[in-house]
């Protein structure tokens, strides 16, 4: 193969049809309060981890819902499990159990792969 000096850029568009959403099906059954999330960002604003990394529970939930699983895997371990987000959430999402569920689903699905 000739060296062109550049590679075909990776598409950053979310392809909803290609994405599998395996983590989501696990998590939604484990912690149905994920459906209550309205993406308000209260959780992310108060999050200790989010002050120093690009971690945001609001985004993590959306990544799970859209099936952007690689990004879920790189992000979910940043949570410190302090529980402040659960205190802050106005919709009563059980965030602590949700994050544990995502972590478990990640393990399950990565093992499955």
């Amino acid at each position: 193969m000739p060296d062109f000096g550049y590679k075909i850029a990776k598409d950053r568009q979310i392809d909803y049809d290609e994405n599998k959403r395996l983590i989501f099906s696990e998590v939604a059954a484990w912690e149905p309060s994920i459906y209550r999330c309205i993406s308000c960002g209260t959780c992310a604003a108060t999050c200790s981890a989010g002050q120093y990394t690009d971690y945001s529970l609001r985004k993590l939930i959306l990544l799970v819902k859209r099936g952007e699983e690689q990004e879920v895997i790189t992000n979910v371990s940043k949570c410190l499990l302090c529980g402040k987000c659960q205190l802050a959430c106005p919709m009563g999402v059980n965030t602590r159990n949700l994050i544990l569920g995502i972590q478990n689903a990640v393990k399950k699905t990565t093992y499955a792969v």
Binding site: M1, P2, F4, G5, Y6, K7, I8, A9, K10, D11
Partner: protein, 356 residues
């Protein structure tokens, strides 16, 4: 797809296209990419259809590429455009016909700017006068060269030697079209059929016996996009854009891609080679590519011109499968013989992309 819905929309986007006395301005890059397209346009307009078209030897670039890459300020661009208008005025031709889509968009944009800001026009007139001593009248009509071919598509069809039909099976050939961004995205009213469902190339394909398929990524950029190509580090975006289009059109098994812009056929043609080399993927039949044509090349084929006179041998994707379907006879041994009779040499064969 509900055709009547499209047709209703197309009716709303008609435009005035001059009938004769054209002042032709060439594209900077087409003469290199697709060398015979402009010559073919002139031949069709004059020899086939008997129109009066004139090219001024002193015309220059419209400076559109420089303008769109922030190299040339708009003030300078407007003055260069004013100079083209001055040449037109001096030659006594009222109707401007740019070969390039970006030029077409730029001329339209400059005139629109002057319409809204007459003081800018006055300033540009002053610049031109100081720099060259020239004066100008604004064109009575601006139409892109593809608009002219669109207008004359039925006359061309009447003289057709070949139809866009498989001459063995009788099956209508399927084309996909790609319109240059600056044709109607900036000024939808200036494009035949508007910006969302442009009709200019569809009209040609239908008039010449073919069928057009509307593929999902039709509106996506061809991959030229000035900024995404001119800097080498960005070319990955350019090739990715073309790839998105190929993947979208492939399920429809198009016999050809038709374009009306200088950059689009170049990138849609050459990137099929690059993608094949980088990823091993090809999009046409039997490991070949999907032939990419300019509208002049397609008109030339329909009119029975020799494919090698149309410059089809400089395409990266072989056009022979399309020629075979249309029943066009060609001499493979003269493919690489130049206009002066000298042998041009045979290009290297790609590793993956199959070529004739």
């Amino acid at each position: 797809m509900l055709q009547e819905g499209k047709q209703a929309l197309w009716k709303e986007y008609q435009k005035e296209i001059a009938d004769n006395r054209y002042f032709y301005v060439r594209s900077c890059v087409r003469q290199n990419f697709f060398p015979a397209s402009e010559a073919t346009f002139l031949k069709i307009i004059t020899e086939e259809l008997g129109k009066d078209i004139y090219e001024h030897p002193s015309h220059t670039s419209c400076s559109g590429i420089g303008y769109h890459t922030d190299v040339i300020p708009f003030e300078t661009t407007m003055t260069m455009v004013a100079r083209q208008f001055a040449l037109m005025t001096e030659a006594g031709y009222p109707n401007l016909v740019p070969s390039c889509i970006t030029s077409f968009g730029l001329y339209t944009e400059v005139l629109d700017t002057w319409h809204h800001f007459p003081e800018v026009e006055a300033r540009v007139r002053e610049h031109l006068r100081k720099a060259t001593g020239r004066e100008f009248e604004k064109p009575a009509n601006i139409a892109h060269a593809s608009d002219i071919i669109f207008k004359l598509r039925n006359e061309i069809a009447a003289k057709a030697k070949h139809k866009l039909v498989n001459h063995i099976t009788g099956k209508t050939l399927r084309g996909v079209e790609h319109i240059g961004c600056h044709y109607s995205k900036m000024f939808p009213q200036k494009g035949i059929g508007g910006a969302e469902y442009p009709y200019v190339l569809i009209g040609m394909i239908e008039a010449w016996g073919g069928e057009v398929v509307d593929y999902p990524e039709r509106r996506h950029c061809c991959g030229f996009g000035f900024r995404q190509y001119l800097v080498k580090a960005n070319r990955g975006y350019s090739v990715a854009s073309s790839k998105k289009k190929f993947e979208s059109m492939e399920p429809y098994k198009p016999d050809f891609i038709l374009t009306n812009c200088p950059g689009c056929p170049y990138f849609l043609d050459r990137w099929q080679y690059a993608i094949a080399e980088m990823e091993g993927t090809t999009y046409g039949e039997n490991g070949m590519g999907i032939p990419v044509l300019t509208y002049e090349e397609l008109a030339g084929l329909v009119l029975g011109y020799d494919p090698w006179d149309l410059g089809l041998q400089v395409h990266q994707v072989s056009v022979e499968p399309l020629l075979d379907k249309m029943g066009i006879s060609y001499n493979p041994s003269s493919k690489y013989v130049g206009k002066n009779g000298k042998f041009l040499g045979v290009p290297f064969k790609p590793n993956t992309l199959k070529v004739c």
